[in-house]
């Protein structure tokens, strides 16, 4: 993922050129609408720069999802569902965000096994059925 940052400059150049190219080619009708998001955040600062950052974030998150075993045919739809803020949060911190998936039963089982082992080793004495021979 970090490797991608090295490509930031050339990729940014590419994006700028293609944005300019397309905006010269087709004067799209709604290119000039102020989005609701921009109004709510009262910031339309350098939308082009934000678009480039979003493209980089998107590529990072794509790799991260693939790395975490998401079915490649599902990745695109999952990326599309994310806002720019969410993409950025994932791109910068996905490894540290909690991925909740606990099965409380297997958690209890885990604790049980840990205590059982410590009982057997003699560090704890939680279960009466763990007998230690008197020395």
């Amino acid at each position: 993922m970090k490797v991608l940052r090295q490509w930031a400059a050339p990729l940014a150049g590419y994006v700028i050129v293609s944005v300019l190219f397309f905006s010269l080619q087709v004067p799209t009708a709604n290119a000039a609408m102020v989005t609701t998001d921009a109004l709510l955040r009262s910031a339309q600062v350098q939308q082009d720069r934000l678009n480039i950052e979003a493209a980089l974030d998107r590529a990072d998150v794509h790799d991260a999802l693939a790395g975490y075993g998401v079915d490649p045919t599902q990745i695109q739809a999952r990326l599309d569902a994310l806002s720019d803020d969410e993409l950025h949060a994932l791109a910068t911190n996905i490894d540290n965000l909690p991925a909740a998936g606990t099965d409380p039963l297997s958690f209890l089982l885990f604790i049980f096994i840990v205590l059982l082992i410590t009982d057997i080793l003699g560090f704890t004495q939680v279960f009466p059925f763990v007998k230690h021979r008197a020395r």
Binding site: P27, N30, T36, D37, V70, P104, L105
Partner: protein, 318 residues
């Protein structure tokens, strides 16, 4: 926070002493019943590690989505992490055309949402700070007298958990909680700006019809909200309903005549209808007002002038 609930309880008990009226209590200055349980929330017993899809399916199906946890696995589960991220839980609700709303981080909001009939999806850390055991569950009920919440959790369809125990596991997950409601329903504790931002994300996802319904719900609660009306106008425009878009932009301008963003978008809507003179006047007004949107306004004006010129040139006229 725990204390404020207790304080509220004592106050109300004092006020009602000897009086057998409706058992309610005031929380954040809103009257709620002393206990409430949303019994019609489906229960999907969780498969291994999949508390995310199961909890999300419970919340979404209560909001009218026909969905099973298995379908949500491909939307929120990360196989290698054996779990689901909060951000993807939020995003998945949008994919199913519900409005995800992350609540203010205190117990009172959870109680108020449940009192309003909205099940609350929460993140808990059942383990310890250094040995985290992350878990999603759905709060479906509370009882202020017994001081407990009722949850759909893992393989438990009705897990009663004391406020104090819940608080510890919830606090370790930074008090994260969300509701996901049908677009025409507002969370009981919705804060205007936060709600509109989450609706704007639905709008951007290419679901303008869904977003429009949510903006209308917001306008019912906050009739003066410029953000909600602007969103409604933009969503109408995206759905191709130019008349509704124009009407709503003009409605905002009646109250806020110096809003450059609104003039800019109005200009675009007029241009789309080939009303070049009006469009150019609106765009010029936007440019004159300047502000953050000035670059966009200048672009709009330029395009309108160019297209208007083309439309009036001999080759282009019919």
């Amino acid at each position: 926070m725990r204390n404020s609930v207790a304080a509220a309880l004592i106050l109300v008990q004092a006020a009602l002493a000897g009086c057998a009226s409706v058992p309610t209590v005031r929380i954040d200055d809103v009257a709620v019943p002393r206990s409430h349980e949303i019994t019609d929330v489906a229960f999907f017993p969780q498969e291994d590690y999949q508390c995310g899809p199961a909890s999300l399916a419970e919340v979404l199906s209560h909001a009218g989505v026909d969905v099973q946890p298995e379908q949500l696995v491909s939307e929120v589960f990360l196989p290698e992490r054996k779990g689901s991220l909060q951000i993807e839980m939020v995003a998945a609700a949008r994919r199913h055309e519900r409005i995800p709303y992350v609540l203010e981080r205190n117990r009172e909001t959870v109680i108020r949402e449940i009192a309003a009939g909205h099940p609350v999806l929460v993140l808990q850390n059942l383990g310890l700070g250094w040995l985290p055991v992350w878990h999603y569950a759905v709060v479906v009920g509370y009882d202020l007298d017994r001081q407990e919440f009722v949850l759909r959790s893992g393989r438990e369809s009705r897990l009663a958990t004391e406020f104090s125990v819940f608080e510890r596991t919830w606090q370790r997950a930074d008090h994260w909680a969300m509701v996901s409601l049908a677009p025409d329903r507002l969370p009981a504790t919705a804060v205007e700006q936060n709600f509109l931002i989450t609706v704007a994300a639905v709008e951007r996802l290419g679901k303008p019809g869904v977003a429009a319904r949510a903006y209308m719900a917001a306008l019912e609660k906050w009739p003066e909200s410029i953000g909600a009306r602007f969103g409604l106008a933009n969503a109408s425009y995206a759905s191709g309903n130019l008349a509704a878009a124009e009407e709503n932009y003009r409605e905002i301008l009646r109250a806020d005549a110096d809003n450059a963003a609104v003039w800019n978008n109005l200009a675009q809507v007029l241009a789309d209808q080939h009303r070049w003179t009006e469009a150019e006047t609106a765009a010029q007004t936007a440019v004159g007002l300047g502000g953050d949107v000035a670059p966009t306004s200048r672009q709009t004006l330029m395009e309108i002038q160019r297209n208007a010129a083309q439309a009036s040139s001999p080759q282009a006229s019919p």
